[in-house]
Symmetry: C2
């Protein structure tokens, strides 16, 4: 088999869902499968479900284990990629779990483990919006905010394997607890909370109609519609969130002299160009030196597949397949 024809399994392991895909070296997804994680059933059951999801994806593609070169998996927590260990994954209640070894024994494949956001960043670097940028940062804005760093063409993990945690960087050290970190200020949860509080305080917004008066039911697509219809309140809240994304990104780009920032995650996908535009504004006002205004800020391209594509390609890279 020619090198270019080699196939990999990429797994995106989340607290709620497991997704597996068959991926080639160009990052194309040939087939996918998905299962609930069911973390409450315990570690052994979760591992069985990971294996089942992989087998489903292979079946979907009409392949068997012998057609696969390696497996990569992104886990929701801190990992020791060298040892293949999940150091801590709160949602799964895992501590120092030897995931690579366990999966290798069950599936008889080489296995690479890394953090879920890191593998997403790797995917965008390899075949997405950060292609050919040997220094870049990816920031994924969803319920929370996570990030990943590619430095000198390598996934940067730092001494404790926790690098990239931009959501936990403090931007307002003088604010009350809960309004200090980027995640506090700009995640979807933060945006929804702020909109909810403002509406409850009788500020007018079309979001009240869009969610049929049930503020606990605000979804990304409603925020998207409100922004498109130029609803003043929602625009102000999202713009402020993007302001903080821009300031945080500028701080990191100032420190790391990066030419490219990729913005992804559910909220970015929903709002698209507006998020880029508003983030760009604060970024340009903040970054130093001014030549770093050349830094590209672009939308992620792989969407929901970033994790599994990145995991598969990281396995390919690590194992020099």
């Amino acid at each position: 088999m020619a090198k270019e024809d080699k196939l990999f399994i990429g797994v995106d392991l989340g607290g709620t869902n497991i997704q597996a895909g068959i991926v080639n070296l160009r990052g194309k997804v040939l087939a996918k499968a998905k299962k609930k994680t069911k973390a409450d059933n315990g570690t052994e059951k979760v591992v069985d479900r990971i294996c089942d999801t992989c087998l489903d994806a292979m079946e979907e593609a009409g392949l068997s284990i012998k057609d696969i070169s390696a497996l990569g998996i992104g886990a929701p927590g801190a990992t020791d990629s060298e040892k293949g260990v999940v150091i801590e994954a709160v949602n799964l209640r895992w501590n120092n779990y030897p995931l690579a070894k366990t999966l290798k024994n069950k599936l008889n494949l080489p296995v690479v483990v890394d953090n879920d956001v890191n593998v997403g960043a790797w995917g965008e670097y390899q075949v997405g919006a950060g292609k050919k940028q040997d220094n870049m940062m990816a920031v994924f804005i969803g319920t929370g905010i996570g990030g990943g760093l590619i430095l000198n063409g390598n996934l940067y993990q730092g001494t404790y394997g926790t690098a990239g945690e931009i959501g936990h960087v403090v931007l307002r050290s003088d604010a009350p607890l809960g309004r200090r970190t980027l995640e506090n200020l700009a995640s979807r949860s933060a945006i929804v909370n702020l909109i909810t509080n403002l509406v409850k305080a009788n500020h007018p917004s079309i979001i009240t109609d869009l969610c049929n008066g049930d503020l606990s039911n605000i979804r990304s697509k409603m925020i998207k519609q409100a922004v498109e219809e130029k609803d003043d309140l929602v625009c102000r809240v999202v713009q402020e969130a993007c302001h903080y994304v821009g300031v945080a990104a500028a701080g990191m780009v100032t420190m790391l002299s990066l030419p490219c920032v990729v913005l992804g995650g559910g909220l970015t996908e929903a709002l698209g160009p507006k998020v880029i535009e508003w983030t760009r504004k604060s970024f340009d006002d903040t970054v130093f030196p001014s030549k770093l205004k050349n830094c590209k800020i672009v939308e992620a391209q792989l969407g929901d597949d970033a994790g599994l594509v990145g995991a598969a390609l990281l396995a390919a890279d690590r194992l020099k397949a």
Copy 2:
């Protein structure tokens, strides 16, 4: 000559002074020389003064050019280390100046050029407070604030060669201009300004006596004495400055998962353990995940020699001497 006996010239080129030293591979400074930069006299004269300072240092050590393996120089601005070019040094009015080539022609030595703060960080990493820390950040607090990053055992420069500019990271995006960046909030200039303004607004402080009523004459040693005597006003101002150093350091350690931060520069040297203690407090309150509270925060060890020692050792490293 055995490898360990090889000697290097390290140069610390500043806007005001040029310092050159003869340095061995263990970072020992065998001899030093110093001249004024006299940047107003133009580039050619400055380069001549660099060469003269190097020759003085060699003479001081009883050596000639043939005893030296290479020269390293730290310049006050952005550099392209690969090309040996100073991209921009505002104090010297240099733009894209081929410093390595010029010095090489004049002194007939291999020459390595890098940013002054970067070489200081490299010095602390090689033979100072960051020894054996393959990931570390150095922050130098003086008139301004600069920083340098060692990642995976290499001096990290980023795509544009400007990495490490922690003084320009914005910590208070909502504050008035001039009170936003770390340098605005925690440099010696910022501290002196704040003390001056408070004293002028009739807040009592022993600093008034220490500078004989001339507030334009506040020096680091007076700040040191006021802190030692527990002067309330000066302690509050310095503690607030350290708070911002701690928050900025925690942001970078959160993002880069670093095990070590080295604090240096004139102000840190003057105030010593108090700066570490106060920085540590805010750092621990801010860093994520909590295991990064294990990150060491230590005083720099090389003092004023960090630049020339680091420049010499960087030349040794780059040229695999």
